[in-house]
Amino acid sequence: MARGFSHVLNSSPLQPGDLQLEIDNVFLAFGGVQALSGVSLEVKQSEIAAIIGPNGAGKTSLLNCVSGLYHPQEGSIQFYNGRPHTLTSLKPYEIAKLGIARSFQNIELFKHMSVLDNLMLGRHVHLKSNIFWGGLYWGRAQREEVENRKFLEDIIDLLEIEAIRKQAVGTLSYGLQKRVELGRALAIQPSLLILDEPMAGMNSEEKEDMARFILDVNEEHGVTIIIIEHDMGVVMDISDHIAVLDFGVKIGDGTPDEVQRDPAVVKAYLGEEHGTL
């Protein structure tokens, strides 16, 4: 049924296990509120790294620093794709060109556009046509649209959203919108994929599907994934490595087993009474 992925989804040139993202001693404050205090984190090629922590711990703020939406006052964020890039001095659209793609906690799709157009916008950095050829829909502009459509059809197959490809995104259910948002991030051909609560508000069947898609992208295509998620069952199952934030400070880092046994983490987040999951 599925015809298999015929394009390269992962655009990172690194080997699995190479250092890909290095967050070093990042401080971020909004006025008097200290959102992040000296957070460091290393992410290696082809792993799934999870960031967990209570609400307001600074998880999304940290990822916004990686995307270039926030600029930390101190510390550095280095991204490697054969050579180092200092993300803290780049603009969001320049970071997108490095293949760092993301989804948002509250779905931020282009809701009046069709699913296909949303995915095609994900191809933006790969499209070359200018305004004149675009206006004529001639030559390169048309060829390019058709070629990229083929890539998108691979993603549509992967995420099983064939039936809704021409629907306006605003009319879709929440679960499908989350899936389309993952698709839009994949369309960029990510070297690093950031997912901010991809399963929030889903039922268990939808969560299972989403976990499957995330594992497909990681295992079959080797894409590095950073994920924020509150469902501990999912996080412990799929991640290779978990960082725990609390009040802007990293209080734990390690494999799922290590984190579950860490007393500081248990106290801050997992709950003292239960202790284990």
């Binding site: 659209y93 060109k97 933006h124």
Partner: protein, 347 residues
Amino acid sequence: MESGIFHTTYEKDMALRRTPVMRWRIILALTAVLIFPFLADGYQLTLANQIGIAAIGAIGLNILTGFTGQISLGQGAFMAVGAYSAGLLMTRMGLPWWLTIPIACVITAVVGALFGIPSLRLKGLYLAIATLAAQQIIEWLITHWTGLTGGVEALVLPSPKLFGIRLNTDFNFYWVILLFLIITIIFAVNLFRTKIGRAFIAIRDQDIAAEVMGVNIFRYKLLAFATSSFFVGLSGALLAHYRGIVNYERFTIETSIFYLAVVIIGGLGSVSGSIYGAIFMTLLPAVLTNIGRALGDTMPGLAGVLPFVQQAVFGITIILFLVFEPEGIAKIWRDIKDYFRLWPFSY
């Protein structure tokens, strides 16, 4: 009417006219506009030409306000830049009329991009006020820079001629406007199914997500201002050559608001909606005037209050549209098409 049509290539699936019905609709519309001038009288041709010029200006404004989500109150001023550029290039520099049109478009595009710079920081109502400043500044420059524009005096243009034929008669200029309108429509429709236009819509719907997906917001906002102003300048330049006279009074804030009404009533973010809106907003006052005239013979007392009744009906129509169909005439037309999509077995 659409069932049973399957596409076997992406080229066909992504074409603009995907079904025979769509193709027939276009052929029908084209035939109608080609036959129209031979059947119409002078008054109807004047109205048609006004509609054509308004449609080009409305498509221009819709690119900026409807598709990119940047509210502009500077439409009138940008039209003035187009009209005065065309007029001055012809009278002062002696350029042929057909050459003044593209140059006027480019000048307006540059001016539009310049006044688009505040859009980097300003959104929504704040941007509207910034574009209002553009309107006032340009109006002031036109009326006070007497050495260049002639100030409040009207600028008179020589008649445009092609192979010795005077073009600015209603019948002849109809074809000039039609040609430019078709080019504008084709360009705008294609723009929004390729990279640049898609980025414009993305900025309107969710600017932060667009930036994270690789769209350079500032660059694309300026590009939207420039592209929009290009076509607004075109409609200004056409108006100048059609009327043979350019006067700042035609390009005040009232013009800006008129065009905003056109794109809202026609349909924000719709190329065809811009045309429906132009037709509606041009014909409505004309129809009201004619009704008034007809009634004036039987009810002599009406003549005095007629202008006020017209204004009121005009205003009420706009309000009713905003209340009952905020997405405009384009949405009504879409609903009709949707109804007939599976007709006669729509279950």
